[in-house]
Symmetry: C2
Subunit: 146 residues, 2 copies
């Protein structure tokens, strides 16, 4: 193992720590006319480096993109700590009671005044297939559940 | 014109101002296995909201992605100013002397010690087709050269 590489275990560990503390992540989808699309999103819940949950408004264009193609990437970086995390996977659009309750936080009320059952809210669960973690010039990759 | 919308002129104007001051932008490409890909990049040169130039290392995976498919999106946001800019377009990989000189800055020497002619450097020019600017809940779109 070169000292320029993280083991899959260490890469996953680093990614999980970064994602768990991230206030903002960047989510890429396959957008219109063959172009990728990006937006900043605040994660609602991070479960290891396997699942990143978000909430979105029913009128968001990204829902249309995700209905057409669920493939997505989640990205985060910090210039201060020279850290970069990238996950590839798919996003499921969820509308069930359990998912809504699982991710609900009171500060979502500004956007969704109806609370966890607000009909204009949808839950997005990103399920990672693989990931990449880089820090200080060292890089490592890992698979889902590895 | 609703007061929730920027005119194309004002949207372009806002996007140009934001891009001209941005230290970091996020570039999405069509990556492997049908997944989009993202990375943070520092713009080397911004020409209105039409062209955003970057430099990259010849060994970067993004070059392979761009050779396969030049379609890309450039995104920037600031939580402080509630501003979001998104451009859709294509990225050209350039290796000519004029392009290299046009974007060269001395601080690139850390990555490319050979200067503007460093053989491991490639110039990327993103050419926008359309854009979207949002600020404080107000949104507007614009076309290239509009």
């Amino acid at each position: 193992m070169s000292d320029k590489r993280f083991s899959p275990h260490d890469a996953r560990d680093g990614a999980e720590r970064f994602l768990g503390a991230a206030a903002t992540l960047f989510v890429a989808t396959n957008g219109s006319h063959g172009h990728p699309n990006i937006r900043a999103m605040a994660p609602a819940l991070v479960v290891r480096a396997d699942h990143v949950w978000f909430v979105t408004h029913l009128e968001s264009n990204k829902l249309i993109e995700l209905v057409k193609d669920s493939k997505a990437a989640v990205y985060g970086c910090s210039a201060d700590s020279h850290t970069e995390v990238r996950l590839w996977g798919t996003i499921a659009i969820l509308d069930d009671r359990d998912s809504r309750r699982r991710i609900w936080r009171d500060d979502f009320k500004r956007t969704f005044p109806g609370g966890a059952d607000d009909p204009s809210m949808r839950v997005l669960r990103f399920d990672a297939v693989s990931g990449r973690f880089a820090k200080d010039g060292k890089v490592g990759t890992f698979g889902a559940g590895q």
